[in-house]
């Protein structure tokens, strides 16, 4: 056998290459089965960036379908709640040019608002409950409904179906806990930063003395 191979080097080379191809083919085939990815991983990553308001302003029934559509080549600028920051994050992820927000799908809201049901007017029709994509409205037929504020995404979808127009979107009120310092305005120094109040050359002690 070896003598035969040494006699026909071309044949030997051919045999070696075929052998290698078979081994690597089998290896790749096994890996493809063994390490098969479930679903579309890029869609998952896109979905992580989307704000999950499930508002449907993009034209898809929820964030997940839109994420899948983006993964299949849909434009990235159709999500108003995500705003410019969201588009930027998507552009970074997909390595494409960030586009300005498509005005056709609405404008980016300043702050996410929360649905509020004027309970005295609610007739208990359950229409808003069916419309809510995240089950954030509590109630039953002919019983007053109310919004679970912490779960409301501010998607606006419950406002339209209400037959008595008793649902309003109100911006969340700032509380002591939610308050925080703002970035200082570099142009006008209206912030009260005490540490740097005294310029170095005229320290308080000099003035006081």
């Amino acid at each position: 056998m070896i003598a035969l191979l040494s006699q026909y080097p071309l044949f030997a080379a051919l045999l070696a290459l075929v052998g290698l191809a078979a081994v690597f083919g089998a290896l790749l085939g096994y890996a493809a089965v063994r390490f098969k990815t479930e679903g579309n991983p890029i869609a998952d990553e896109i979905n992580n960036i989307l704000p999950q308001t499930q508002c449907g302003q993009c034209g898809y029934p929820g964030c997940r379908p839109y994420a899948e559509a983006i993964a299949n080549g849909e434009d990235i600028n159709k999500c108003p709640p995500g705003g410019e920051a969201g588009i930027q994050a998507l552009a970074d992820l997909l390595d494409v040019e960030p586009l300005p927000l498509d005005a056709e799908h609405g404008e980016a809201a300043a702050a996410p608002s929360v649905a509020f049901i004027r309970e005295a007017e609610c007739i208990g029709c359950t229409k808003c409950i069916q419309a809510c994509p995240v089950d954030a409205i509590l109630g039953a037929a002919k019983q007053m409904h109310t919004v679970i504020i912490s779960e409301c995404t501010g998607c606006d979808l419950c406002v339209e179906p209400c037959p008595v127009d008793c649902i309003d979107m109100i911006p969340p009120q700032e509380t002591l806990q939610s308050w925080h310092w703002d970035l200082p305005n570099p142009v006008s120094r209206r912030v009260e930063v005490i540490a740097s109040d005294a310029p170095r050359e005229s320290s308080p002690r000099d003035r006081a003395a």
Partner: protein, 671 residues
């Protein structure tokens, strides 16, 4: 002499401490009104435990702790609960917060205080509970509940207990005077803490600019095994992590707690409060506060009741409002401007600084960063303030976190050192808040995603179940139909099925038969009801019951219904005879509805744009009118504020919509 270590950076701002230590601690007395905010500490606000008009005695619990990280509030003096309402508090936001307002009766009557001078008789858990009930929260800075800080996880080996007497911020002398005047109490408190924690060493760390305090503490600590350690003055050596490094040479890991390196820290003020709580059974209802600055005539320290309005205290020190540009709570480095001079003193108010304009001038405008690196030299946490500043400006939050923004203790050394007067700390504070907000948003988005997906799953499942039921019913019906065909025996179930099938068949052949049948049934049942009603009426009449009138109206109503039913039947028969000549009615009700809707849509489409716009406008106006009426009614009835706000926003929105619609109408008419 114990070896002390240094820490990176730090600054030496003018101390200005001498002004307020010339006189001993003065008692501020009882102000005409005390305002006690429910949240004076980190954690959950306390829950109100009194009612308006109730008389309370000094030291009585007026608000209970809610949750583990929370402490109760006590009445600072005896008096009457005047109000429980939202008041302006000492917070940079200028927001209102719930407060309990007490009008003192001047008697200053204590509740019965049960002290435990022999605290060794109690175990650790009982002592911690005692401290928690006394409402002791960190009195140096953030106001973290002391009992939580002292609850060390089992298995953690604590080597060093540190009592923080550093007080490194300029102007403040509250801890200094405590050391001078109440050294015995501090040592006694430290012994209690030592008993609870069980460390190898107990140290009291004091900067060397307080020689009197150090001497007093050393005298009191004779033979107790507690060591007083002094070290060179440098700001911010009072920071917890900085002090630990100075005294032990150990660095607390980023994002970690001091207990990870075997250290527990407590403030001098808190130590005295713990002593009072354990030995005398007195809750934390007063504290020592420094009142200083060139806008007060007599800068000094006061023993002041928690809840005392700042104005009252300032006036005691000879406040000159015309000289004072703004009032600062805390020191000149880490304090903040209070929104109003009437806000109350809280457990964390260690200093009231009333500077003149010359003393703390308005900050000059920020210049561009010249990359001098002085901020990095000053930073006690060894951060890169300059880099952080660029990232904060560019809102590069990931990079900020990578550069350990959360290790920043917001001491202000960088801002102080900056030759360009850039408010660096402000950038870090804002960025921290923004990052926390983004984290929260992301968490919420995650929760929404899960809810959305589980809802989707539920809907799919429900649909599948319905489909399965439908299929099963269909199959059963088919089977029954087969058995009915072969079975000749008459049984009631089969008869019912046959009837149902017949009815179905009737419906399929034409709706009019079903309709006719329904109408006929209505006539028959109405007649039956009329008969029974009449019979009852007769009976009632013969018995002379007082129900006669009611029954009479019932009979009349039933009679009217019967007449209506008969009329409907007659109408239907008539239309049917006509209908057989004219066009055929639609096969079933659903199709009829669809056709009706389609006709309506067509009619709408047939309308000109102008007409459509006009119709829309009319509808909107109607809605606006209705909402305005509701709003007026709500206002008149004094409805909840939330409801009014919501209604107002609706009115505004509707008005916007109307103006839009008007524009559209205009455009349509022009076209």
């Amino acid at each position: 002499m114990r070896k002390t270590y240094g820490f990176h950076g730090g600054i030496h701002p003018p101390e200005n401490k001498h002004q307020s230590v010339r006189t001993p601690i003065a008692d501020a007395g009882i102000p005409p009104e005390l305002v006690i905010p429910l949240s004076q500490h980190i954690g959950a606000p306390a829950g109100v435990a009194v009612t308006i008009g109730e008389h309370v005695r000094k030291g009585q619990v007026i608000a209970e702790a809610q949750g583990f990280v929370s402490v109760p509030k006590h009445a600072p003096t005896s008096g009457t609960i005047h109000a429980i309402e939202d008041r302006l508090i000492a917070h940079p936001s200028g927001h209102l917060a719930p407060c309990i307002v007490i009008v003192p009766d001047g008697k200053d009557e204590w509740i019965e205080c049960v002290g435990t001078p022999h605290y060794e008789t109690l175990d650790k858990i009982e002592l911690l509970e005692l401290i928690r009930h006394a409402g002791v929260a960190g009195m140096g800075g953030a106001g973290f509940p002391s009992s939580v800080k002292l609850s060390i996880k089992a298995g953690t080996d604590i080597e060093t207990l540190i009592i923080n007497g550093t007080e490194c911020e300029p102007y403040i002398t509250a801890d200094d005077v405590l050391m001078r005047e109440r050294a015995e109490q501090i040592i006694a408190g430290a012994k209690i803490l030592r008993y609870i924690i069980g460390p190898k060493d107990t140290l009291i760390g004091v900067e060397d600019n307080k020689p009197e305090g150090i001497a007093a503490l050393r005298a009191a600590a004779q033979g107790s095994g507690i060591e007083i350690v002094d070290f060179p003055t440098k700001y911010p050596s009072g920071g917890e992590k900085q002090l630990i490094e100075i005294l032990t040479g150990k660095q607390v890991p980023s994002g970690g707690l001091p207990s990870q390196v075997g250290v527990v820290c407590q403030n001098i003020g808190s130590t005295v409060a713990i002593y009072d709580a354990v030995v005398h059974g007195r809750p934390l209802i007063s504290r020592v506060t420094t009142v200083t600055g060139n806008a007060v005539r007599e800068p000094q320290n006061f023993q002041v009741l928690i809840g005392t309005p700042m104005r009252y205290l300032l006036e005691k020190a000879g406040y000159q409002p015309e000289k004072n540009r703004r009032l600062i709570m805390g020191g000149p480095m880490m304090g903040f401007t209070v929104p109003d001079i009437d806000v109350p003193i809280v457990k964390t108010t260690n200093c009231l600084l009333a500077p003149t304009e010359a003393e703390l001038p308005t900050p000059p405008p920020a210049q561009a960063c010249i990359r001098c690196g002085m901020c990095a030299e000053a930073c006690p946490a060894s951060l890169l303030p300059q880099q952080l500043f660029w990232f904060a400006q560019g809102k590069e939050f990931e990079k900020l976190e990578d550069h350990n923004l959360f290790d920043c203790i917001e001491c202000g050394a960088c801002s102080y050192a900056c030759p360009s007067n850039i408010p660096l700390v402000q950038y870090y504070r804002a960025s921290k808040a923004e990052i926390l907000r983004l984290r929260r948003d992301h968490e919420k988005a995650e929760a929404s995603r899960v809810r959305f997906e589980s809802r989707q799953q539920r809907l799919e499942q429900a649909e599948a179940e319905k489909e399965a039921k439908r299929a099963a019913r269909k199959k059963a019906a088919e089977q029954r139909a087969q058995t009915a065909g072969t079975d000749t025996e008459e049984d009631p179930i089969q008869a019912a099925i046959a009837r149902a099938q017949a009815r179905k068949a009737a419906q399929q052949t034409g709706a009019e038969e079903g309709e006719l049948e329904k109408l006929e049934k209505a006539v028959v049942s109405s007649r039956k009801r009329l008969d029974t009603a009449t019979a009852k009426l007769e009976q009632a009449k013969s018995e002379g019951s007082d129900l006669v009138d009611a029954l009479q109206t019932g009979v009349d109503k039933t009679r009217a219904k019967l007449a209506a039913a008969e009329q409907a039947l007659a109408d239907h028969q008539q239309t049917r005879t006509q209908g057989s000549v004219g066009d055929k009615p639609p096969a079933d009700a659903a199709r009829a509805a669809i056709e009706k809707a389609m006709a309506k849509r067509q009619a709408e489409a047939a309308l000109s744009p102008a007409e459509k716009a006009r119709a829309d406008l009319a509808k909107l106006r109607q809605r606006l009118q209705k909402t305005e009426e509701t709003l007026a009614r709500g206002k008149a009835n004094g409805d909840e504020e939330k409801v009014i706000v919501a209604l107002e926003s609706t009115v505004v929105r509707l008005k916007e919509k109307i103006s839009d619609a008007e524009e559209q109408l205009q455009a349509a008419e022009d076209a």
